[in-house]
Amino acid sequence: MTRDRVWLGVLLSVPATAWLAVAFAAPLVVVALLSLQETADPFAALSLVPSFKQFADILGDRYFLGIIAETILLGLGVTVGAVVLGYPLAMWLAGLPQRWRSVAFAVVLIPLLTNVVVRSLGIVLLLAPDGLFNGFMRPFGLARPQGYVFTHFAVAIALIQVFLPFMVLSLYDSLANLDGRLKEAAASLGASRARIFFAVTLPLSLQGLRAGVTIVFLLSSTAYVSATILGGKKVWTTGMIVWQEALQNLNAPTAAALAMIMLAWGIGFAFLAERVVRRFSPWLAPDRPRRASLALPAALERVLVRAADMSGQALWLALLALGILLLLFPLMLVAVQSFNDVPQASVAGFRAFTFKWYAAVFEVGAYLRAFEISVQLAAASVACALALALPAAFVLVRFGYPGRGAVQAFWMLPLALPHVAIGVGMLRLLQWYIAIPPFMGLLLVHVVLIVPFAISLLRSSVLQLDTALEQAAASLGANPVRVFFLIVLPNLAPGLAVAGIIGFLISFGEVTVTSFLTTARLTTLPVRIYAEASFSLEPTVHAVSTLLILATVALLAIVNRFVKLDRVWAK
């Protein structure tokens, strides 16, 4: 660790840190302060004398503890589900021929392109008493008269569906980079498919897995809209309580304290995932003293491999099919419903064909304007977020300095703080916030929401860069700038594309924080849809979603022509 490298590391850490310090640290401090208030008075100035009453109330209450446990278990369940369904999908995606890749990407992204309310309604219909799922379970004697809706299972399915794309895309980059010759070598040495997966594919995709697991766990344990719609208030998550206390009861201190507790376990989980993955990939830090190898216990591995070999290809294909079906399900629903002549969107069954919902999208005009704003905002946010995240990702992989761990934790914080809490924090700062132009204000916040994803995803891409290529270029006389643009950037293209797409969709779909900050002149598309849903949802929303999906397929096809979603040397 030379002195220069330390300083370079610090320098590269500045952009992301500075942005977050301006746009995120302020609301975070407010939330922290709110959590230390003794009483809830929406007009009182914040007291600077800390009181731990809120924390004591929450942690001393079995009811709250129960909900916290329930939420963490739900998050873990969703994460495991997303991993199990994510691997087959990501491997399928990475193995597809180039020309099909844009369509396949669109399939993976469909849930993210569909409004959360629409998606959740779809799952309700799927799991209802006379829904598909109950019909499927009937021959096995597992049909339930009240269906499977309004259960933890229903909430988990909905969350897996929407967070699966994050897992698949996190894994995709690692898997696309996997050297096919390694698998061939393993196969030629007599390894079965299952053995190759556990001995080659899994260990080499651990970095992607770490990013995916962290993102999915944090997102699913802060989610509240799906939980509200599909849990039918029989399922409670801490996110729902935060929303209820902060907005319905105007009890910000309790909400803030709960949010801080969620923040703590989020950081804990990210830290744990980091530690575990590092111990399982000792080759990433060859200069570090090796601890005892932490591979799976041999016996367990043998059992797993044996089981996988026996169920083999069939299980794999079944999981792949299940994953694709789950992703495609909203597409079927929105496409059919967008032509359905029904009074409200929640009607099941097709009544009559109509174009009126499409006409409404273009007629009202406000949709188009909102769409335009959303696209501009998302594009600007992604550009800023990638510019901040790329240097940060390099710091995490290549430039160590004292205190880097703390900086890294700070970068990840926005992921772990529920969006409602960020919104509540921003509300307190509203008078400063409205002094800046509205677009700039939303941009500041949206970048904060994207940056942790972008850093997490780009970090695994940077980690897999082949430094030999850079050294070769340098030895042939290329200066660092040339090396960066001719070697590093092209090799990061798929990682950047994936981070860009995810970032775009996060900004494009964000409604929780944005709905606090929206103004008459600047209403984004999801906020508009949410406003309609707050009265009664009409299938116009489905028409919007269908158009979005079509536009995405087209856009990805174009992108794919110019920026390969593959690494340059991949075949």
């Binding site: 809706v149 907005l247 929640s346 929206t518 002149r521 406003a531 707050s534 009265f535």
Partner: protein, 351 residues
């Protein structure tokens, strides 16, 4: 033209400026109250969907054409709008916002929105009494029992406790207009009141197990569609649309104890600088065109008594004597208990 003022001219100018400064608050005040100026912009916080459509047609368009003003909508749900208005008390970015009944009365008490000025809004003199509190009630949207008429009949709130509904109830979540009505009516019909809700909680517990807890009208209608539940507590207005277009088996009860009052309220903010324009907006909302459009399109009942309602609509609305029967509560107290009750509801009823 002289470039410099001499001392006397300077003194006169100073005196003039002083007088103008002294007079200016009165002038600004006058402008804010009494005049609509061309080019004024109004910011209104309101729900999307049908309400946006109707108000744009019957209020925004005529106002913009008549006065050359611009009216901007901030669309969204009530909780975000309310949280923001509270944060901006005294220096609001909204001039007018729409709230539900209990939020509106509390907002007036908290100094966030104005009490109604009945003399300055011509149509306000026709308002029914409950619509004069917490702002200007623009639509009655009472909450009542809604049920599948093939499974039984309902004429009283107590009928919820009849055996035919056991295990088939979708109880509404608390807080929220429906859940609040459910809790308070349960307390009231079994001998309690808003000050003694214990009996309400107790009686609701007796109804367990519930088929489901419903969190919104859309969710409830899906439950009816799918046969998950047979009975619930919901807005009568929208349920009528649902029954007419989707599920003819659903009936809207008119219990002997009355339906629970709920209404949408137009609330001018404290500190708006467009007072006259706000009041013109509210006046049009209480006008015949807008009120009848509400009644016709979404079965919201009028809050003014001076309308002639077409015969085909009359049986579907809450009018005349039925308005007097609407059950109103001490909302200040109800709001003050909301946190405690919702915590209790989550533990005892929903869990």
């Amino acid at each position: 033209m002289k470039k410099h003022l001499n001392r006397r001219q300077f003194g006169t100018a100073l005196l003039g400026a002083g007088a103008a400064t002294l007079a200016s608050p009165a002038i600004f005040g006058l402008n804010a109250v009494a005049q609509i100026r061309r080019g004024d912009e109004l910011v209104v916080g309101i729900w999307g969907g049908a309400q946006e459509r109707i108000t744009r047609q019957h209020i925004v368009r005529p106002l913009e054409e008549k006065h050359g003003v611009k009216i901007n909508y901030v669309l969204g749900g009530t909780p975000e709008r309310r949280a923001r208005a509270y944060q901006e008390r005294g220096r609001p970015s909204f001039d007018l916002l729409y709230l539900n009944i209990f939020e509106s009365r509390q907002a007036v008490k908290d100094g966030v929105t104005q009490a109604p000025a009945l003399d300055r809004v011509p149509n306000a003199k026709f308002l029914y009494e409950p619509a004069k509190l917490g702002g200007y009630g623009v639509a009655f949207n009472p909450v009542t029992i809604v049920y599948d008429k093939r499974k039984g009949t309902v004429t009283s709130w107590k009928d919820l406790w009849k055996p035919e509904w056991k295990g088939r109830i979708a109880w509404p979540s608390y807080p929220g207009a429906q859940g609040t009505a459910g809790l308070l009516m349960a307390a009231q019909v079994w001998g309690g009141s808003e000050r003694n809700v214990d009996v309400g909680f107790q009686k609701i517990r007796e109804l367990k197990p519930f088929a489901a807890i419903q969190g919104s009208q859309d969710q409830l209608y899906t439950m009816f569609d799918q046969g998950v539940a047979d009975i619930s507590i919901e807005f009568g207005s929208f349920t009528r649309s649902y029954a007419e277009t989707r599920n003819a088996n659903i009936e809207i009860a008119n219990p002997v104890e009355g339906q629970a009052l709920a209404q949408n309220v137009a609330c001018p903010t404290v500190g708006t600088t467009k007072q006259a324009l706000v009041e013109a907006f509210v006046d049009l909302h209480l006008g015949e065109a807008c009120q009848l459009a509400y009644a016709r399109e979404i079965y919201y009942s009028p809050t003014v008594s001076n309308l002639t309602i077409p015969a085909d609509l009359r049986p579907k609305l809450v009018l005349g004597d039925d308005v007097k029967k609407l059950v109103d509560f001490d909302w200040d107290y109800v709001i003050s208990q909301q946190t405690a009750w919702s915590s209790r509801f989550n533990r005892e009823i929903a869990g």
